[in-house]
């Protein structure tokens, strides 16, 4: 009964989305205030309907209703409650419902928080969001019904993939989807601007919070996924350039470029067309990721069951949204001439450089990810483009980006003189050089990690120099600086925090560049030396959990005779899914991770892999700091008080 109600709510949401796509846009074109006002109401109604469907789906998983096919395929009565709930979106059908649920949350947010938008703009944005909802709801209803029944109901479910039974992964999809779907809002703003035929400072100001929020959630989602891969897959790495990882990186890069170029639109009314294009691109990239994961066109650990029929449907949606947007762009763009002018060396110039570099990285990752697939379809040749290509191609671009990142915020608008920037950054440059040389001195000839440490010092120092400069710390003393700190706009704090967060992540990556590991077949009582530590295998024994059994090794780690930690890596066996997982044991300190993985046992020896990962936790901590920067910037007063709205008080005026 609950399942049927959920299905009905989805159908209702589909009809509401159709109304939401048609009525407000029609009203905006006709300047019909009543039709425009229907937009927010319809968006809220849509949220209620999709929310009801989502709640019904979670209910089916929580009570383990085995007459629902999705529950049978992905859940089991013995599973802990958190993973029963997470199981609702741990599969193709459920994750699509979550996707649409977040999209309707965004639509309702535009309806609720967008009261300061001109009503025509708000109506158009809500209308475009309704159009996107409509497509994906139709997709769910036509090809991926999550409420399909199975009769007779089996005694119990088949369980969720044990790799996914992990707190990190329970929250990875919702965060990532908040990011992906957030790009739909900036996309809707771009389409609305193209329909109206104008982009001005106010548009930049309205788009920026959405770009910030979506980018912040994407950052968290990607970091959580990477962290999960690090501790759960047991390979000891944090990024594998897997096509699906790349698919999440592409909208992140486009979003990062967009939130920077939107600053230029807001402050200087330049880069307008470019920002619109980036907003379209960010959503196109997040749809591309959806398509690649769900259509079966690529081979990846992340891919859902391959189903070409669903692929054709998503491709049609992609063609409609992306193709339609690009046609509108080509038709409308010539009318939107740039107005702001600036010298190459200026804050705008720095942000253009940022955009060029971010988009170059995007192009490299895009090409590297799609090239093997297109080569296969064109020539039948199978190749794989892996980490060596991406590392070699991305590293120089990232180095240039980092070099510019510290200097950019210190440039003045319109036309900047290089000398004052050098005056403010010379000590940062010295710190970077010092970190580079110190790494070489300590670790020998390891140029890449050394460059990484140099870049990290440069980025974190650059962020500090930026804040110090804004507070006039060195010119007027710390008392004045503290007084000024309260008055500094939150967006300035946010930018500096996010840049420092990038520096922290680079610090962690540089540390991982110095990681060492060792594979050993150990008997109980054997010692292994790695990275100055002595690792002793004390025991290998059986253990049991709620829905698994495991073999657990106990390793005592000592340094110069002093105990450091006891690590207990496991190999878990999930009888219901007939699958093994490795549970790495990790000892985390501020200086890094000691990491142990247990492998197979043969002839009384256990295969144990030991890693020393210096500074590894800082990779994800840095990502959290970046997201925090986005959050602080979002809390800026100017984001909420839309001052430029007055400039277009005649908001109902058509294009």
């Amino acid at each position: 009964m609950i399942a049927e109600l959920g299905h009905y709510a989805l159908a209702l949401a589909c009809i509401l989305a159709l109304a939401q796509a048609v009525v407000p846009i029609w009203g905006a074109q006709r300047q019909d205030a009543a039709a425009m006002a229907a937009g927010p109401a319809l968006a809220l109604g849509g949220l209620l309907a999709v929310g009801a469907a989502f709640a019904a789906l979670i209910w089916c998983f929580v009570v383990n209703d085995t007459s629902v096919l999705a529950v049978v395929q992905n859940s089991h009565s013995q599973k802990p409650m958190l993973y029963k709930v997470a199981g609702a979106w741990g599969n193709h059908e459920g994750s699509m419902v979550l996707w649409v649920f977040i999209l309707s949350l965004c639509g309702a947010a535009v309806a609720g928080f967008g009261t300061n938008l001109p009503s025509a703009l708000q109506a158009r944005v809500i209308g475009v969001l309704g159009l996107i909802s409509l497509g994906f709801l139709a997709f769910i209803l036509a090809t991926s019904n999550p409420f399909g029944r199975i009769w007779p109901p089996p005694a119990d479910g088949q369980g969720l993939n044990p790799l996914l039974q992990d707190p990190g992964l329970a929250f990875h999809p919702p965060l990532l989807y908040l990011g992906y779907v957030g790009t739909a809002v900036t996309f809707a703003f771009a389409i609305a601007a193209l329909i109206e035929g104008r982009v001005d400072a106010a548009w930049g100001r309205w788009v920026r919070p959405w770009a910030l929020a979506s980018w912040g959630f994407l950052t968290l989602g990607i970091a959580l996924g990477s962290w999960w891969a690090y501790y759960e897959l047991g390979w000891g790495g944090y990024w594998f350039w897997d096509p699906v990882e790349n698919a999440s990186l592409l909208p992140w890069l486009a979003g990062a470029a967009l939130l920077h170029s939107a600053i230029v639109v807001e402050k200087r009314e330049a880069l307008k067309l470019w920002s619109v294009l980036l907003a379209l691109l960010a959503f196109a990239m997040s749809l591309l990721g959806t398509f690649m994961v769900r259509s079966g066109v690529l081979n990846s650990v992340h891919a859902f069951a391959n189903d070409p029929e669903r692929g054709v449907f998503i491709l049609a949606l992609l063609a409609f949204y992306v193709g339609g947007a690009f046609i509108l762009f080509a038709l409308r763009a010539p009318a939107m001439a740039p107005t702001g002018v600036f010298a190459p060396v200026s804050r705008e110039g720095g942000l253009v450089l940022n955009n060029l570099l971010l988009c170059s990285i995007l192009a490299v990752v895009f090409t590297g990810t799609l090239y093997p697939m297109f080569l296969d379809i064109l020539t039948g040749e199978k190749i794989s483009v892996g980490a060596p290509f991406f590392n070699a191609a991305v590293a120089p671009l990232a180095a240039l980006l980092f070099a510019a990142m510290a200097a950019g915020p210190l440039l003045s608008w319109k036309r900047a003189r290089p000398w004052p920037v050098v005056q403010r950054l010379w000590w940062v440059a010295l710190a970077g050089l010092g970190a580079f040389l110190a790494t070489l001195a300590v670790s020998g000839w390891n140029p890449l990690p050394a460059l990484g440490f140099g870049a990290a010092a440069w980025l974190i120092g650059g962020a500090l120099a930026d804040v110090a400069d804004r507070l006039a710390l060195f010119r007027s003393g710390w008392r004045t600086a503290i007084a000024r700190a309260g008055g500094l706009p939150r967006s300035a704090w946010g930018g500096a925090i996010a840049h420092a967060g990038m520096g922290i992540t680079v610090l962690g990556m540089a540390g991982m560049g110095l990681a060492t590991d060792r594979l050993a077949g150990m008997r109980v009582g054997d010692h292994v030396a790695l990275a100055g530590y002595d690792w002793r295998l004390d025991a290998v024994e059986d253990a049991t959990g709620p829905n698994w059994t495991s073999r657990r090794a106990t390793l005592t780690v000592t340094r110069d005779g002093a105990p450091v930690t006891v690590l207990r890596p496991e190999r878990r066996f999930f009888p219901v899914a007939r699958q093994n997982t490795t549970e790495a044991a990790i000892h985390t300190t501020v200086f890094g991770d000691l990491y142990a993985v247990m492998g197979e046992e043969t002839d009384g020896r256990a295969v144990i892999r030991l890693h020393n990962n210096p500074l590894a936790p800082w990779i994800w901590l840095g990502a959290a700091v970046m997201a925090l920067g986005a959050g602080v910037s979002l809390s800026d007063r100017r984001v909420r008080v839309a001052a430029p709205a007055r400039r277009r008080a005649d908001g109902t005026q058509p294009a």
């Binding site: 692929g311 193709g323 697939m373």
Partner: protein
């Protein structure tokens, strides 16, 4: 850049505005072809076909691993055999090789000839590996420079080939031989080509 307000985009450069659509359309056509290929079977992202399937093994002669006391391996050993054989590329330094080892031992106990090619390994390490874990191989060639692996088109170790009695390569799998693979792929092949 001049201080004057820049003129609107000149007409002759407007075609650039259509470039995003062009790229997207080309991508869309490619993806559509992939989806068509998926349903017709002509496109399979998971398949890793070997150019050698359906052909004789390339010519090679490999020296034996003295410490193991086994004969070496050459192309001549893979022609006109009484039973089909498995050719397994492995190394003592490779973790998945440890994982697949029990399956190879089981095949060997069941009387299936497993020929090993020891890839880029030190003879002492390879001999130690076999002494410690047991030796599933009936013949063992030593490919220290890795040249034969290149001729066979090996992706990485472990990699296993199924060679029928006439010496034709019928199947190849890159990666560790798991119990499931043994049951679902190798044993049916053994029955089919027995």
């Amino acid at each position: 850049m001049s201080e004057a307000v820049p003129p609107p985009i000149p007409r002759r450069r407007r075609w650039l505005l259509w470039a995003p659509l062009g790229v997207a359309a080309a991508g869309g056509v490619g993806f559509y072809a992939m989806l068509r290929g998926l349903s017709s079977g002509s496109y399979d992202p998971r398949g890793v076909p070997s150019a050698l399937v359906g052909h004789q093994a390339p010519a090679f002669t490999l020296p034996p691993l003295e410490a193991a006391g086994l004969p070496g391996l050459a192309q001549a050993d893979l022609i006109d055999m009484p039973r089909p054989v498995l050719v397994n590329f492995w190394a003592s330094w490779c973790v998945p090789c440890v994982i697949e080892h029990p399956q190879l031992m089981r095949l060997s106990r069941d009387g299936v000839p497993v020929y090993g090619i020891n890839y880029k390994d030190k003879p002492a390490d390879a001999a130690g590996f076999l002494a410690q874990r047991g030796n599933p191989f009936a013949r063992l060639g030593r490919d220290q420079p890795g040249r034969v692996a290149i001729d066979w088109g090996v992706y990485g170790v472990p990699e296993t080939y199924f060679v029928d009695r006439g010496g034709i390569i019928r199947w190849r799998f890159p990666g560790a031989v798991t119990p499931e693979l043994l049951r679902d792929d190798i044993q049916p092949l053994l029955r089919r080509y027995a």
